[in-house]
Amino acid sequence: MPDDHRDPASEKIVVSGFRHFFETAGGHVQATDQVDLTIRSGEFVTLVGPSGCGKTTLLKALAGFIRPSEGTILCDGKPVTGPGRERGVVFQELAILPWRTVRRNIGHGLEIAGIPRAERERTVARLIELTGLAGFEDRYPHELSGGMRQRVAVARTWAADPDVILMDEPFAAVDAMTRLTLQEELVRLCTATQKTVFFITHSVDEAVFLADRVLVMSRRPGRIKAMIDVPGRLAGRDWESFKIDAAMQALVEQVLRLVREERGLTTPAAPAIAAGPGA
């Protein structure tokens, strides 16, 4: 895949020759095929692909939770050797702590970093405002709806102010209407804060709606089979105009076709299944 935007200064994350294998009881499983990828500073990249294609494996390697079997991952030119504060993660499943209030969950990263209380509270208050959690500061997670809990998870990651944010299907577990709101809020939050975001999703609509660039991964062992640029993110997006924007919908169609090929639904020139005699 030729990358026409080569400029080392703006290269936030560089993945080269990445490959990953798992040892299981059944033997050697290849999670991903070779992945080469450059994410520019301030870019919002989404990754779609069929289940089990290795999306989460790639994200875990970027986060530093696993070490690549092969290849290297650089963040700001330095190799990733473990988790770090400059790379925040928002998980699909609930990862906020049930025994901490909203306020203390959001401020947790700052508390760990040893930020003084007054400054911490200012940051937390700003994020509570940005994520629409005002009035719920002293509630515990079990007192919140699924959508609000996910807002807390997002706010906690943003509060720690990492350069890069890795998101693994963060809105998969919330209801469809809430998801739309959360996606629009995320667009606003990213425009306001200029983070580099790597976002995994199953939803083609979501992938195009949020991104500067959509990556499509092939089925396992996954590799990146296509990159599609989506223009105009920083101008702001909302679902109403997105749905009637012909150019955007064409991109959605294109991505959808690429993903469905991988699921074997519209395989071009699929070999006919030979029916044996008596079958």
């Binding site: 993660v89 499943e93 025994w99 997670p141 720690a160």
Partner: protein
Amino acid sequence: MSATTAASARTGVPGQSMLAAAGRQLRGLKILLPFAALVALWWAIYASGDFSPQVLVSPLTVWQAFVHLVTYGVMAEYASTSLRMIGFAAMLSMVIGVPIGFAIGVNRYAAHALEGFLRFLQGISGIAWLPLAIIWFGFTHTTTLVIVIYTLIVPIIFNTMIGVRAIPESYMLALRSLGASRLRMVKDVYLPGALPSIVVGLRLGMGYGWRALIAAEMLVRKGGLGDLIFGARTFGQIDRIITGMIVIGCLYVIVDRLIVQPIENLTIARWGVLRK
């Protein structure tokens, strides 16, 4: 009825709260009902036959023995020995058991390796260790303490381990990506995450430990309620035996309801439905 409405009109509280209070009283009565039935049955049996006081006495005689033991401070002495012993054993078991449970819980291999072993130990009751303990430590408080701690500590270790292992991996990953140190993880994730399970372990342990304590006291004979009822047997004091048994049951309920259960409720209220 008119009194109710008048009262609620005066306080501005709907008559419902009085109904609720009445309901609570009714529930209190319901809890006492089986006890009343047992005493009635006991009395009926006693009245229907001609029992020697060496075999069975009436509830009234037991009540008189209770009053006597309390008045002369005998009950306080024996009961406080038992309560001090269980309290001390519970504290020591927590101090030793929780760190051990943690160490096992955070290590997947250790947890796998030791799960069967801990279950095996759970199978050998504290009482089964009494013969060995008596040989090693004699008829002393040490023997009793060792038995009770052994009984208490196994469920505490086991439940701490389970509690640590049940913490979702995502909590750990999230904190690591926020830059948390190992100490920070213990303080912010492992300890609060495992707490509800630790409390369950403590509660189970207190139940088992109390029973083991009474049994050990019966053999060791150095004070405590077990000593009281076993000593009374020597003199055929049925009234004292039954009094002691009732006190043993009551003290357990009081300790469980007034100390252990409130701690458990507190953690459940705090942790909410998320902990399932």
